[in-house]
Symmetry: C2
């Protein structure tokens, strides 16, 4: 293990928000806790298991609080993330993704071996990887939960047909140290369709395919205990489907500009923006204010970040700068002022930071490491 | 100081490229050295000082090789970056940016105090910060080079007029422990104008303004030893202007898709793509191949990354995946294959990685840390 120094922590407990060094990732604890409670209530009302996706926050402390608020465990996308969370004591982790490559498979099986009391799951969409996982688990005396990844419309990963799912599940069941759990059926293509009818229709199609695949598995005497899927944009449809037994929303706990652009379903809980970028005005002239945060402090793949105040808009973004331009009535801004922006896409934004500063009513309550930052292996 | 573990290094010396774990940042050493040599020759032919921008690579080893190839030192954008490079022994570092906020100013002055034999420079665009820097240097018995940042068209930072530059330079000169060096006149707005005439015209305007400001400084008996500016897209114009004495290109050494889209000036050296993202095919079906690298392994602010092979194009990118679609004749791709992509924008892409794998003729020659990764303070 190599250790690398971290020499700059943006804040300490008790600091005022305006004294936090910048750029910094800010978590509004009141809003965060509201989001936790609303998702807990929604999952309970639908009687589905809640397994939030930790790829959005990559933070052990946030995962612990999600579990304290009713989650049965977490999801992640990478073996490197699973290592961080399982080693930190999170006892139920599902990698909602394929793991390919001998080195990664070995690391995954070693993680399972070192934590025999943890539940560790992974998705497969090909027979070759399933067999290799089975052989490694035999050799290491390790055990893994395995889900067949079903493509329900995203055209990214997953098997295409119920017949392929049956064949793959048979391969898994044939490995004594792999437990076939069921189907991973995530409609990633549906999450950001803006209209409610479009999102609902995409999930209905995904649900039909998952139900048809479950029927094919049962007809082949293969158990299908769990069907897991559903993100922040659609989870109420999966949860209400009677087919999905588990939902895996991630962004709900932080919320970003991109999800807020979706038309809100009247039956869905409302989530609050709890994540912000704090930046300092480092240059100011006339109607222009330049902030000390840019592409290395937030992502722009889903558009520009949004100021939390009126009368100013983002005019340009570069690697280390964001230029705000006055567009109407709003606060006057001077050199050294601090500004809060709502990120357009929380997942790749959080990944840029080493720390998240948890704030309540203008005071820093804690500074948590983004433990799995950069764990993209 | 907090240390954080790094548990995953993608390669070791002697590995073959196809065995490097993914996602990984790959540096083609032959092309990198070609780029170093061509920039050295260009700077020599124009008789300007070469101070490459290290915000593009954030890597001490690359900075050392740039200096071995004729650079007088490096630029960076942040105090956190300056700390990394100066502490690693780089003896001449210019922060081409304003530093605002008491904590950052103190860190900067402490760095200068701890390295009295290093040259450490910083830009200012307001009197308030210049005075505070002067006072802190007096208190700490430290010394700093100071450049007045002149806005030459980017409308991001910098003073607007020669008169403001004179006033600010007077403030700097009045501080005994600050050395007024001259002007920072970076035409960031010109770097990616696609046509040669537009880029040249933008730099001519910047050069006129810099010359006018130097004349105003000289008329006020203020020295103006250095005028520094010029990026990868325009440096031959600054270098040939007889006004700029120093150029500060960054991306030339790695090159990305965005700079390659510029119309090439016949008088400019040609730089080769030396930076790549290596990814593994983690799912494959029909004409679709899904790679294990996404928004957490490369940035898309300047567009999608480009495959290095024909017949396939990037169809979609998400946080941890890139989906390639076959569009014509090209290699067949199967599960577990490795693919190289050219990033669209090197600076924010490099910042996502902890390591850069230096490869020559298909074999790993070294693995270097991205030392200043995440140093955005």
């Amino acid at each position: 293990m190599v250790t690398r120094p971290t020499t700059w922590i943006p804040a300490a407990k008790g600091d005022r928000l305006q004294d936090v060094d910048t750029p910094a990732l800010i978590l509004d604890l009141d809003r965060f806790e509201t989001n936790l409670a609303r998702m807990r209530a929604a999952a309970a009302s639908f009687q589905v298991r809640l397994r939030p996706h930790a790829k959005s926050h990559k933070c052990v402390e946030i995962a612990r609080r999600q579990i304290a608020a009713g989650a049965i465990g977490i999801c992640c996308q990478k073996v490197g993330e699973a290592e961080v969370f399982v080693n930190a004591g999170i006892g139920d982790v599902l990698i909602t993704n394929e793991v390919v490559g001998e080195r990664k498979l070995q690391r995954l099986v070693q993680l399972a071996r070192h934590h025999p009391n943890a539940r560790l799951g992974v998705c497969v969409d090909n027979v070759q990887t399933a067999r290799r996982l089975g052989a490694l688990c035999m050799a290491q005396q390790a055990r893994l939960d395995v889900y067949v990844d079903l493509d329900v419309g995203q055209n990214r990963t997953g098997v295409a047909t119920p017949q392929e799912a049956v064949e793959l599940a048979r391969t898994v069941v044939a490995c004594p140290r792999l437990t076939f759990m069921g189907l991973h059926a995530y409609a990633g293509n549906a999450q950001h369709r803006r209209g409610v009818p479009e999102r609902r229709a995409a999930v209905e199609a995904a649900t039909r395919k998952a139900a048809e695949t479950r029927a094919a598995l049962r007809a082949a005497d293969l158990p299908c205990e769990v069907i897991t899927g559903g993100g922040t944009g659609t989870f109420i449809y999966e949860a209400g489907s009677q087919i999905f037994s588990e939902i895996q929303p991630g962004s709900y706990v932080l919320m970003d500009v991109d999800y807020a652009r979706n038309e809100q379903d009247q039956n869905a809980p409302r989530f609050e923006h709890a994540l912000f970028i704090l930046a300092t005005v480092m240059s100011q002239r006339g109607d222009r204010a330049t902030l000390d945060a840019g592409l290395k402090a937030f992502s722009t793949d889903a558009g520009l970040p949004a100021p939390t105040f009126t009368g100013w808009q983002v005019w340009s973004v570069s690697d280390e700068h964001t230029v705000l331009q006055r567009t109407g009535d709003g606060p006057s801004i001077k050199l050294g002022d601090k500004a809060l922006l709502v990120p357009s896409h929380c997942d790749p934004t959080v990944n840029l930071h080493e720390w998240i500063v948890a704030v309540r009513k203008g005071a820093v309550e804690a500074v948590w490491p983004i433990d799995a930052r950069g764990a993209f292996f």
